[in-house]
Symmetry: C2
Subunit: 193 residues, 2 copies
């Protein structure tokens, strides 16, 4: 595993999502694995760390999450723009070789039988809290974060360093139809007093 | 009302939140009104447009939402950084004059008895879908968007123009402790083919 990947304290895992990046959701069940793009992921609780993510009924990844009870939310970077767009446009139901065709490089974190996407800035390993009503009525999946990791070239000591890292590390924020914004400049409200 | 404020088609209301900005949540019940900052707001459905937002049990705004069944999610701008930070730091339970002390300028959209914050880039008028379990167990409030508006200097024809508007219009993305990032550059995945 990339030696830059470091564990993130669970009490600070929310900071990996707090700025609202578009994420990649990955899941595995037995020999099937998939990755999809999602803009509707959000922190839900600080301690214990929880998250929510919307997974449409048409997606293969949702089926894998329903069967396995686990998924990873990962924060991709500007360098991965094409991958992010393709993983959000192609369904594995239509293209069983989706991951290969998108040139998706996967690895595993020790102790978790889950596909993690190489090159991301952060990863949240999530254990589903089954909520049939939310899943059926709202496509909303709630999960407990059981482990979190980040690449120390862009997140370390509980803080993002987007403003110091090369631009290729910036998070992506999808608006619609393949149009994204990257994260921008750091601003500090504490200096305004 | 500011003549730059234009109605946004409900089917495109999700685009106002899709890039994950930190928002202001405002609510009113009888003669009480309040505004708070929230980083955990997210689109939930395209049509009918729905959103989710986490409102902690300690907040006054939550009480007003529970009583009235309505709230506004609004997208503030870099120019409002100090306001955003203060509205997220001070509770009306501790300072009944919070809105005055924060210099909060409010207005109303015709037909809605709700306090809207002047100077924001976009506003989503939300009608609560009561979900006692989500509200109690997760502090999660789900709502239907009944009207949406944006300032045409930064959002028009269904698209954000952060990349063309002056920097003071940029959205804010809170990480923690008063540290924010603004939204950055536009990137288009469609030109990568």
């Amino acid at each position: 595993m990339n030696t830059h990947i470091k564990s993130v304290e669970l009490a600070k895992a929310y900071r990996l999502l707090n700025h609202g990046p578009t994420v990649l959701v990955s899941a595995q069940y037995e020999h099937e694995e998939n990755v999809m793009t999602a803009a509707w992921a959000c922190a839900l609780e600080l301690v214990p760390a929880k998250v929510s993510v919307v997974l449409d009924k048409s997606t293969k990844t949702r089926k894998l999450v329903e069967k396995s009870g686990y998924f990873i939310l990962q924060v991709p970077t500007l360098k991965q723009l094409k991958l992010v767009q393709q993983l959000g446009s192609i369904s594995q139901f239509n293209d069983p070789e989706k991951l290969t065709h998108c040139h998706t490089s996967l690895f595993q974190f020790e102790g978790f039988d889950l596909p993690a996407v190489e090159g991301c800035a952060a990863w949240l390993i999530c254990e589903l809290i089954p909520e049939p009503h939310n899943q059926q009525a709202h496509d909303l999946f709630i999960a407990k974060v059981v482990a979190a990791y980040a690449d120390d070239r862009v997140f370390r000591d509980g803080h993002w360093y987007y403003h110091e890292a090369p631009a290729e590390w910036k998070s992506l924020h999808h608006v619609a139809g393949g149009h994204y914004y990257t994260i921008g400049d750091a601003v500090d409200a504490n200096i305004l007093e």
